[in-house]
Structures are given as C-alpha cells and as structure tokens.
C-alpha cells in the first residue's frame, strides 16, 4: 500500500472506502500504531501521532472482539479511562459514574452490570462507542461500525459520530457502506492498494472515483427514482 497523503482539520469525519483487501484495515491499524509504516509520517495536531496516543480511541470490528471475555458493559467502558488514570491507580466512583453516564447517553442506561455477550449486535457496538466517549479522544477510529446493525442503531452511531465532530474530534470510519459515507462523512479517502482519491465528500464521492476504486466490482445505480405505491 502506498501513496496515502491526506490532511484534514479537526472535526472532520473521514470515510475510508475500498474493496476487500484494499488496505482499509491496514491504514486504520497503521494509524492506531499496530502496524508501522515503511515510510512516511502520521501526524496528529502537528506532532507525531504516537506522542498523542493516549487520545486515540479505537472501536474494533465486532468480529474481532472476544465476547466471552469475563467483563461487563461498564468494565469495557471503564477501559476508556485507564490511560487518563495512569499506572497503579484504580477507577473510582467518579470514573464509574462517568462510564454509566456514557452508557446512558448511548441508550444503555442501567444495563452496565450485564455481561457483554448479553447484548444485541447494535448494543455491543454502542458499548464500544461509550468507551470511546469517556476516553475524551482527539481522534476516533471506527472499523466497520455499520456492519450487521439495524436502522435504530445506525441512527445512534450517526448521532455520536456527529457529536464527536462537533466537539472538534476527528473521526475516521472504515466502511463498506457507501450510503453511510454519503450521509455522514465530510471527507472520503478511496483506497485500492494505493490511494485513489481523497477530498471533501461532495466533490470526491463521484461515480468516476468510485469506479476507479472498486473497478468492475460494483454496479452503480445513481438516482434511481423510487415511486411509492399509493395507499
């Protein structure tokens, strides 16, 4: 993967799109510090990103989470506070209240004591968003947050992404879901091994760029008129 050169202002919502194997996850993992780039730099707020690591929140794909792990929803949310707490300090009452408030905000109030396997897919996604929330991040990385969740949960995820952006938090969303990209993001980064295009969503999310990104793998149905049957 090469040629990724992108710069956004704080508060941008960047959709990272591309076919399977195009490097969406690789890019996210490089930004998260799991993979090291062979060359080039990743900066956050003018400093090398690793110096700002404590303020990076990562929301994993649901398939990558071990749902059998013995933790409750509140335990998971509390993990977002660990870095701010520092070594050898334990979460106190204030942190617990904060975790509960975050769960409440995501519509999971009063369910913090439940084991993480006892939630639906959309709710599980929301637990991790609550964790990102209490971390007070500057950058949020979301890996396929819309996969396998219903309309109701989508709306909640949307609302939170926008709330992050309104607070000046930069959000990066790797997704397959092009409708979501059109609806939510301010910028799009198209990947197909190399960077195909990058820019503001209105000018970059174009049929030509999408064709260049996905090649023959997609059919375009632009502006298909939909007629509702009269009642």
């Amino acid at each position: 993967m090469a040629g990724v050169d992108a710069r956004v202002a704080p508060g941008a919502i960047v959709g990272v799109i591309g076919p399977n194997g195009s490097g969406k996850s690789t890019l996210l993992k490089a930004i998260a510090g799991v993979l090291r780039p062979h060359s080039g730099e990743i900066m956050l707020g003018g400093a090398p990103i690793r110096q700002e690591a404590t303020r990076i929140a990562f929301v994993p794909q649901r398939e990558e989470v071990n749902w059998d792990f013995p933790v409750t929803a509140r335990d998971v949310v509390m993990m977002g506070r660990y870095r701010a707490l520092g070594w050898l300090r334990w979460p106190g009452k204030a942190d617990r209240e904060r975790a509960d408030a975050a769960l409440e905000r995501l519509g999971l109030g009063g369910l913090g004591h439940r084991h993480i396997s006892q939630f639906s897919g959309g709710q599980q996604q929301r637990i991790f968003l609550a964790r990102a929330l209490v971390q007070e991040p500057r950058l949020v990385l979301l890996d396929e947050p819309f996969t396998g969740i219903d309309v109701h949960n989508r709306a909640i995820v949307h609302e939170l992404i926008r709330a992050f952006a309104d607070d000046g938090v930069t959000v990066l969303v790797a997704t397959h879901d092009l409708d979501e990209v059109r609806a939510t993001t301010t910028h799009v980064l198209c990947l197909n091994r190399d960077m195909v295009a990058f820019g503001p969503t209105p000018t970059t999310f174009t049929p030509a760029n999408l064709r260049a990104t996905f090649g023959g793998q997609m059919a375009m149905f632009e502006q298909v008129p939909i007629f509702e049957r009269a009642p």
């Binding site: 993992k29 998260a32 510090g33 799991v34 690793r50 690591a53 404590t54 990076i56 929140a57 990562f58 994993p60 990558e64 989470v65 071990n66 792990f69 013995p70 933790v71 409750t72 335990d75 998971v76 993990m79 660990y82 870095r83 707490l85 070594w87 050898l88 334990w90 979460p91 084991h115 396997s117 006892q118 939630f119 639906s120 959309g122 709710q123 971390q135 990385l141």
Partner: protein, 298 residues
C-alpha cells in the same frame, strides 16, 4: 475427623500443605491470564523449557529453582521476541524449541547415575520432600508475582481483552507481554516441586477454566480460581495420603474432577443450567420483545 488430622502429625505433610496452598493460590491467580490470553500452549512450552535448568542445578546440588529461573527467564524473553516477528510460524517455532530443551535436560540427566529415580522426581515433582526453606522461597516469590500482577491488573486486562486498543492508546505492549510471560514462568518454576514439569500446566489452566464457568466477572473469576486451586491442592494431598497415590497427579485429578462438576452444574454456563435456561428462555422471549428490549438470551 482423624482422616483430616492424622496426616498433619507429620512435619513433611504440614510443609506440603503450606506449599500446596501457596502454589495453588498463585497458579489460580496467574492462570486466569494464561486462560484469558490463550497462553496454555506457551505455558506448556515454558514448563518444558526450564527442564535443563532444573537438571543442571540438581546435579550441582543447588535448589532446582535457580536453574529453572535462568532458563524460564530466557525462554519467556525468547518467546516474546519470537511472537513479535511475523516471519516464523510462532507455534511450530515454540514447539521445536521446547521439545529440544526438554530432550537436552533428559540427555544431561542420563549421564548421571540413578537416572530413573531422579527423572521421576524431577518430572512429576516431590511435594512431600519440600523443606521449610522451600516454603519460604515459594511464599516470597508468590507474593512478588501476585503483587506485580495485581498492580498491573488494569493493563493486563486491557491487553488481554483488546490488544488493538492497548496499542492505539500507546501502552508498551511488548514490555507488558514479556512481563506477563516472566510472571507465568516464575509461577511455573516455583510450582515444579509440587507437580513437576509434566503436570504443572493442569494446575495453571484447570482452576481458572473452572472459575470461568461459575462467573462472568473477572474479579470474581480470579477469587474463585485462587480458592478452587488452593482447595484442590489440599484435597488432593489428603486423597493421595490416604490412597497412597502420587501427590502431584492426585492433585491434578482432583482439580479435573471439580472442573467436570462445574461443566455439568455451573449456574448459567453448565450443561444443566444451560438446558434449564434455554427451556425458560422460551417463556421469557415474549416478555423481552414486549418491553422493546433487544436481548439475545445466551
């Protein structure tokens, strides 16, 4: 009553009881992270790889812990580095190395006289032969290992649950990984005298696996695992005394029996509990839908 008190009139049984409680508690605690991180195979590798160290210090007439610590530390570091490079298939590399180390230990030992008797006590432990000195060393190391693990409980938990977030948030993941392996290694080394190289893994994996069936909370799992391991150690020792069986193996079988009981009878995760819950689940399903809640009954 005399069933319980009779063995305790012997000094060697008193020492063995103390040793087994300390080691059980330690294995139960550290084992939780071995189970949650999926390190059972690596734990087994560590236990085998320390064998040459055990043999060398035995031949030199030293406490077997010294050599075991040296080899255990080296192996922990080696596995840590190995798992960092993605070029070698980790599993096979570890498999090759630990089998070789183990064979090396056996070869060194076979050069000595009295091979079979020594091999037996080194491979399967000799808890009835522990000195008061051994008990003290075990207690001190146990406190240090447990202290470090509990002090870094937040970090080890995060690393076990979500390594990607741990990295993204800038934790020194490699150092923490090696530290955990060193703690596992130290636990294995001090436990060698109890059950020996071959069976040590059972003492580290079985109690936490049992505890996991009983609870969904990490804190409770750790407490339960410690209690289960220590009490299985004590019970096993009694059984072995009265039945005249090998102590280490009897302790392991006791832990296995408790595990099997949990598999069947554990409240929600047990076979019986799961069956009952599924039956009840049919009735509750309507209720949850009616309340507008999306809950998948597990």
């Amino acid at each position: 009553m005399s069933w319980l008190t009779e063995p305790l009139q012997y000094g060697f049984m008193q020492r063995a009881m103390m040793e087994v409680v300390i080691i059980g508690a330690l294995c139960g605690l550290v084992g939780c992270f071995v189970v949650l991180r999926g390190l059972a195979f690596i734990g087994d590798a560590l236990a085998h790889a320390v064998f040459p160290g055990v043999v060398l210090s035995y031949i030199a007439g030293q406490s077997i812990m010294i050599g075991a610590f040296v080899f255990g530390g080296m192996t922990a570091l080696g596995i840590g580095i190995l798992s960092r490079s993605r070029r070698v298939s980790e599993d096979s590399a570890i498999g090759v190395v630990f089998a070789a180390f183990f064979a090396l230990g056996v070869v060194i030992l076979s050069r000595q006289g009295g091979f079979n008797r020594d091999l037996g006590s080194l491979l399967f432990g000799n808890i009835l032969g522990v000195s008061m000195n051994d008990v003290w060393i075990t207690a001190v190391i146990g406190v240090v290992v447990a202290g470090i693990l509990l002090a870094l409980l937040k970090e080890f938990t995060l690393l076990a649950f979500d390594p990607t977030m741990a990295r993204a948030a800038g934790y020194p993941v490699f150092a923490l990984d090696v530290l955990l392996l060193l703690l596992v290694s130290a636990t294995i080394v001090v436990s060698l005298q109890t059950v020996g190289n071959i069976l040590i893994l059972a003492l580290i994996v079985t109690p936490p696996a049992t505890a996991r069936l009983l609870t969904d909370r990490l804190g409770r799992m750790m407490v339960a695992s410690v209690l289960i391991a220590a009490s299985c150690g004590v019970m096993g020792l009694y059984f072995s005394y009265h039945a005249g069986t090998a102590a280490g193996a009897t302790i392991v079988l006791t832990a296995t029996a408790v595990f099997l009981l949990a598999v069947v009878f554990a409240p929600t995760h047990g076979l019986l509990g799961g069956y009952l819950q599924r039956r009840r689940g049919h009735h509750h399903a309507h209720h949850f839908h009616a309340a507008g809640e999306e809950v998948e009954l597990s």
